[in-house]
């Protein structure tokens, strides 16, 4: 079970959305972390065979992703997906089951299980157009699991979920990751911080970092500092170094920033979190927006 990306590139008119991405994914949960516009969706579309790369190729166990055999083991939750407004949740799952070539009888059972799993059983017969955003999202997750996929691609699966649903979702994913490749994209650090075996950090169309949480956190480990300063010093510091957090306290401004060495006398080194790493990488992009 191995999914290989070989110098995959996709360019939109004047925008390089995915830039020579080479990756090898094996069984486990992969978290694709990146700011909006980093190229996550584009990359996922290409690995689901709905968008052709300009160059490079994606192979699953030596097979091309354009083939039916690959789609047979694929589960995909697109970032934005539609539905037929007059289909009920059950209809929708049964239809996608037909599209996935699952025999009717078996599909019914699976669909009922998945509706239960995603807490949609009470509304199974309701039309999808009456669903809230979170319900649609859960239905989307359910359909991706219909064919018990070997490769599960989830594009921002937690969008629209409330905190309780998020926790449930995380638990579900870590269970699923034991026997398949799961790739989920997010721009929310806490989604992947604890469940991803490997975190892929994407920026400007390229994967700039990959590794387990402890591996990638090393980049800024020992470089995250917190200090309290008066407002003038705080301003100077925030110009000089990437600031992760800023808060007005009683004795001045509390700053959390990244710096090779101690930025100020009063600064203390603190344990880096993935969030720090994310902000460190994407602070410019965020400000640009």
């Amino acid at each position: 079970m191995e999914l290989i990306f070989d110098r995959v590139t996709k360019q939109y008119k004047n925008k390089l959305a995915v830039d020579r991405v080479s990756l090898s994914l094996k069984q486990g949960v992969y978290g694709l972390l990146g700011a909006n516009g980093a190229g996550k969706t584009t990359l996922m579309r290409m690995m689901c065979g709905v968008l052709k790369p300009d160059s490079g190729e994606i192979l699953y166990d030596g097979r091309k992703v354009e083939e039916e055999a690959y789609r047979d083991i694929l589960g995909y939750l697109p970032q934005e997906f539609g539905y037929y407004p007059d289909f009920s949740a059950m209809d929708f799952l049964m239809y996608l089951a037909s599209l996935k070539g699952i025999p009717r009888k078996q599909a019914r059972g699976t669909a009922l299980e998945l509706l239960e799993l995603t807490d949609l059983s009470p509304v199974a017969k309701k039309k999808i157009k009456t669903f809230s955003g979170g319900m649609k999202q859960r239905l989307g997750i359910a359909q991706a699991l219909l064919n018990d996929p070997k490769v599960l691609v989830l594009d921002e699966p937690t969008a629209g979920l409330d905190p309780k649903e998020r926790v449930r979702f995380r638990n579900l994913i870590s269970r699923l990751g034991t026997e398949r490749i799961v790739l989920l994209s997010t721009h929310i650090v806490s989604d992947v911080e604890h469940i991803a075996d490997v975190i892929l950090v994407m920026k400007g169309g390229a994967i700039i970092h990959q590794g387990s949480f402890s591996e990638i956190i090393q980049v800024i480990d020992g470089k995250v500092w917190e200090c309290t300063a008066d407002s003038k010093t705080a301003e100077e510091l925030s110009k000089a170094y990437p600031v992760l957090n800023i808060r007005e306290g009683q004795n001045g401004t509390l700053l959390r920033l990244v710096c090779q060495e101690k930025p100020a006398e009063t600064a203390v080194s603190v344990v880096a979190s993935l969030e720090d790493l994310y902000l460190y990488y994407f602070s410019e992009t965020e400000q640009g927006k």
């Binding site: 065979g49 047979d72 697109p78 934005e80 997906f81 407004p85 009717r104 359909q143 064919n147």
Partner: protein, 413 residues
């Protein structure tokens, strides 16, 4: 195969879950119902005075044609016609000037129509003949010269249409195969079917365009495309199912509405004259095809169904190519409408004329599927109804393959 039918079922489900589908089908149904009974509504007036209802007149004419003493257009028939009509030498319009009618126009009209009813349809044919030939006195047409005159009329047609030697010889041979004297009887039902077939099918074609336009484009606008195309059958069986759905829908719609229409026609006009030669009816009078009315109904209906399938395939093709169903509907409406205008513009150029006449909308006109212009290949000549469906068949195959590739390679961006 089972999966294909299963997916086809879902395509039908998607179609029938749309309100626009029901509205379109409802509109066609209303139209077809109206087309069948429309002719019976209203009244017949002479100089502002109501003399009879159309329904009564049709009933009377139908009865008369179904109970003719002489059932073929032979000298005996024409003699009887002239005898019967002798006492009413006026035309219908002149009736009110007749002294006998003064004061009791309605009564007089009823007497007149009773005699005239069995010959009303034949007078239409004679008038058509006169129109073409010019110096012809309808009163003088009888069983001895009716067929000569028809031959003369056809000759004039061929000259006017600049038919080739080969076509003329072909038509002469065809003409010889028609048994004379023509059997005669109640052709009213078939005539009204042929007359209304084109409007019915044009209406239906619009409905088909509205209903099938979302076939592919709808997946895009509802943003189901990413899900659908990344599923196992999304790039093969689903597309086959869509094509099967579109074509079968067109076929069922064509047959369904035609059957409804024919039932109406049977109720109002009657279809008892099924074995008359088509030349005994208005729609077939100009044609040389040696078939009876029922056979011609089969031919005309077959052509219309094929043309509707062709239209459906074009709609689906546009749907696969274009972004929104709305755009598809606009293009397809133009396509359906165009031949109605183009046919006059193209009349001077034989190639263009043949082209326009082979477009789906032209094929709904019963008369035009067996019209004089033939396609000759080597020593063989073919009527429109013979070669056009064959061309449609090939085109449908090509367009099906093309739209298949189009949707399969659709990129989600």
């Amino acid at each position: 195969m089972r999966e294909l039918l299963n997916l086809t079922g879902y395509e039908y489900k998607k179609i029938f879950q749309k309100r626009s589908t029901w509205i379109a089908l409802g509109a066609v149904l209303l139209w077809v119902l109206f087309a069948g009974i429309g002719g019976t509504l209203g009244e017949y007036y002479i100089e502002g005075e109501k003399v009879d209802s159309h329904y009564q007149m049709i009933k009377q004419e139908r009865y008369a044609l179904e109970h003719l003493e002489v059932q073929e257009l032979n000298p005996e028939f024409f003699e009887k016609m002239q005898e019967d009509m002798a006492e009413f030498s006026e035309t219908m319009e002149g009736i009110s000037d007749n002294p006998k009618a003064q004061g009791n126009l309605i009564q007089y009209w009823k007497e007149y129509y009773k005699v005239y009813a069995p010959y009303s349809a034949l007078y239409t044919l004679l008038a058509m003949m006169k129109n073409r030939i010019g110096d012809l006195d309808i009163e003088e047409i009888d069983g001895t010269n009716f067929y000569e005159n028809r031959d003369r009329m056809m000759e004039l047609f061929f000259q006017g249409e600049e038919l080739s030697e080969q076509e003329i010889i072909f038509h002469e041979k065809e003409n010889e195969k028609i048994k004379t004297p023509y059997a005669y009887g109640n052709m009213l039902g078939f005539d009204s079917y042929f007359k209304m077939q084109a409007p019915n099918f044009i209406f239906l074609a619009f409905a088909v365009a509205v209903i099938l336009a979302p076939m592919y484009a709808g997946e895009r606008t509802s943003r189901m495309d990413a899900l659908v195309l990344s599923s196992r059958y999304g790039k093969n069986k689903l597309i086959q199912a869509k094509i099967l759905t579109g074509l079968s829908f067109a076929l069922f719609a064509a047959l369904g509405f035609s059957i409804i229409f024919l039932l109406e026609i049977q109720a109002v006009y009657g279809l008892s004259g099924w074995n008359l030669p088509i030349q005994a009816s208005v729609e077939g009078f100009y044609l040389n095809l040696p078939v009876n009315l029922l056979e011609f109904l089969g031919i005309a209906l077959g052509c219309s169904a094929a043309a509707l399938c062709m239209t459906a395939m074009i709609v689906m093709f546009c749907s696969a190519k274009m972004k929104t169903p709305f755009g598809v509907i606009i293009i397809c409406f133009a396509f359906i409408f165009a031949p109605i205008f183009l046919v006059n513009l193209a009349a001077d150029n034989r190639f263009l004329y043949m082209l326009v006449c082979s477009l789906p909308t032209s094929m709904y006109y019963a008369r035009s599927v067996a019209y004089h212009h033939l396609l000759s290949i080597g020593n063989h000549c073919f009527y429109f109804f013979q070669w056009v469906p064959a061309v449609y068949f090939c085109l449908i195959a090509v367009l099906a393959g093309w739209s298949y590739r189009c949707f399969k390679n659709h990129q989600i961006q």
